[in-house]
């Protein structure tokens, strides 16, 4: 889902915006966060809402909870954000747009609720990038 949004924005990016797709590796995420003035991160999440629902997290201001047990892909987005914060490389404006997933089964594709919400998620991401 995050990649879909990234590619929609990359198709016509606002001026001064670089779109980066990241598989989730800790080192790559921390590196991608560094050097930017503002970052908008879009990722699937599970917060018990209807698929496609959006939650905005201002991670420049508030810490993200980090899971104690890391997955086989290593630490996730929350760990990368908190690590960047400790290293002094978290952008001064950094927002996570968490989108409630319908399914995360391999090869499942976007659930109907998420697919229907794509335009709105994209618009929100663009607004965050351009916010004063």
């Amino acid at each position: 889902m995050g990649r879909v949004i990234a590619r929609r924005i990359a198709a016509s990016p606002p001026g001064g915006v670089a779109v980066v797709e990241c598989a989730g590796d800790l080192a790559e995420l921390v590196a991608a966060l560094g050097g930017a003035a503002r970052v908008v991160l879009v990722d699937a999440a599970d917060f018990g809402a209807a698929p496609g629902s959006l939650r905005r997290l201002d991670v420049a201001r508030d810490a993200l909870p980090v899971a104690p047990a890391w997955s086989s892909h290593g630490p996730g987005l929350a760990a990368a954000v908190e690590l960047a914060r400790r290293l002094g490389s978290l952008p001064p404006r950094c927002v996570v747009l968490a989108v409630q997933a319908g399914t995360v089964a391999p090869g499942a594709g976007l659930s109907p609720g998420v697919a229907a919400a794509l335009a709105g998620i994209e618009a929100r991401a663009r607004a965050e990038l351009l916010a004063g």
Partner: protein, 443 residues
């Protein structure tokens, strides 16, 4: 003394149970249980409760050519290891040895995985134990340059994985017979430029971790690793043991067996004589030290490692030496690169059974595939290094925890978790397997 966080009757003052319900800073989901009776450690159980994932059952009925892509999904940290063991086993059955240039590229790919995996573990998961931090994020607050160096080393490994594997997580460019696409000389030149400063960081990392205070412990491990004559082991060589055995991967089952223990979803492995054994950096170092790249061999000596290291608390130094070795070996491979005639060679599939063992970052990874005449997998066996190391890890807990029994439960738990982290377990790998029987019920 009562159990900590558990339910049920008080077992009484002469029995103490220390329970860690979810270990931190290990890959995957595992727990451990230590039972103390009459002042002695009665039992230690490494409880893997991560759900079994039935990969060996999934592979049955699939084409052998699919094995590298399917097995790579067993683990996100060591997918190359699964791909390498898979392709080598299938090629062994076909009687095919890929030409030296393709073998060199496979070794370069493996260097990338060792770099990426070891760097993450050494800096983010293991070093905090020696410096009194809860984890790598807390370590970064006070030692940002060390963490940045660790991340840079991981990025160097990822660059190799992307260039040769197509992407850093679950590479897609590996196939039976070689690769789908060869790297260009320009891509390899770019890699080399990234690896040169990484090698300097790796040398500095060895010096840093060598200075960590560590308990003086000597364990009587039975080491098991590949022992090729010509290089520090990754993709080929017979299997060797510290008891003097040498045998081909095809004889793995004659020497080692897997068993189910009631407290773990992951199978454990033992030698046929019932002994526990240890694979991984300590084993590789003990059995192959003189085949390290010279810069790594010198760094090991300067770090005081000696001819072998039997102190699990110093495994972090050995792992750092292997990072340096992988950096230097990768540079050497790139500098000696000869472009292969083709990305892959033909591998005629036939009925029979093929075996292979390669050295994942965590240790020996054994694969066995039985194919039908059309190349369909009819049976397979995958024995992960963490499965093989579980018994030795539990032995470590039994032996070492006896010195800490006077500690409060919280402190004892922390020490026990650190014992497990000495061996960098990959729990997702260890739970890939269980027998699967499908019963079709009418109605």
């Amino acid at each position: 003394m009562t159990t900590d966080g558990g339910t049920g009757p008080d077992p009484g003052p002469r029995t103490r149970t220390v329970r860690v319900d979810l270990m931190a800073r290990v890959e995957g989901e595992g727990a451990l249980r230590l039972r103390v009776r009459d002042g002695r450690v009665a039992s230690a159980e490494l409880r893997i409760f991560e759900a079994p994932r039935y990969f060996e059952a999934l592979l049955r009925g699939r084409a052998a050519t699919e094995a590298p892509d399917i097995t790579a999904r067993i683990c996100g940290i060591c997918p190359v290891a699964y791909q390498m063991s898979a392709v080598h086993a299938i090629e062994a059955l076909a009687g095919v040895t890929v030409p030296a240039p393709l073998a060199a590229l496979r070794r370069l790919l493996y260097c990338g995985e060792w770099l990426a995996s070891h760097a993450l573990h050494v800096v983010m998961l293991h070093a905090p134990d020696f410096l009194g931090y809860a984890g790598g994020i807390e370590l970064a607050q006070d030692h940002p340059e060390r963490v940045r160096a660790g991340l840079a080393l991981r990025q160097a490994g990822n660059a190799i994985l992307r260039t040769l594997g197509g992407r850093e997580i679950h590479p897609v460019n590996v196939r039976v017979g070689g690769f789908y696409r060869l790297p260009t000389r320009g891509e390899l030149a770019t890699l080399r430029e990234e690896l040169l400063p990484a090698r300097d960081l790796a040398l500095d990392l060895v010096r840093w971790v060598a200075g960590f205070a560590a308990p003086d412990v000597t364990r009587d491990y039975r080491f098991v690793a590949l022992v090729p004559d010509d290089e520090y082991p990754m993709n080929h060589g017979p299997i060797g043991t510290s008891t003097g055995l040498r045998f081909p991967a095809a004889d793995f089952a004659a020497h080692f067996g897997e068993l189910q223990v009631p407290w773990s979803n992951a199978l454990q492995a033992r030698a046929r004589d019932g002994a526990a054994y240890l694979t991984g950096p300590l084993a590789r170092y003990a059995l192959n030290r003189d085949r390290l790249q010279p810069v790594a061999l010198a760094a090991a000596a300067a770090a005081g490692l000696g001819a072998e290291c039997r102190n699990p608390w110093r495994s972090i130094v050995v792992r750092a030496v292997e990072i340096l070795h992988a950096c230097d070996a990768a540079i050497a491979l790139i500098e000696a690169y000869v472009e292969p005639d083709a990305p892959a060679v033909p591998v005629p599939l036939r009925a029979g059974t093929g075996h292979a063992a390669t050295e994942a970052p965590r240790g020996l990874l054994y694969h066995r595939y039985t194919l039908a005449a059309d190349g369909t997998i009819t049976a397979c066996s995958i024995v992960a290094p963490t499965s093989q190391n579980q018994a030795s890890i539990e032995d470590d807990l039994r032996v070492l925890a006896g010195d800490w029994l006077q500690l409060p439960d919280a402190a004892l738990r922390e020490r026990c978790e650190a014992v497990v982290r000495n061996h960098d377990p990959c729990i997702s790998c260890a739970t890939h397997f269980l027998d699967l029987t499908v019963e079709h019920v009418a109605g």
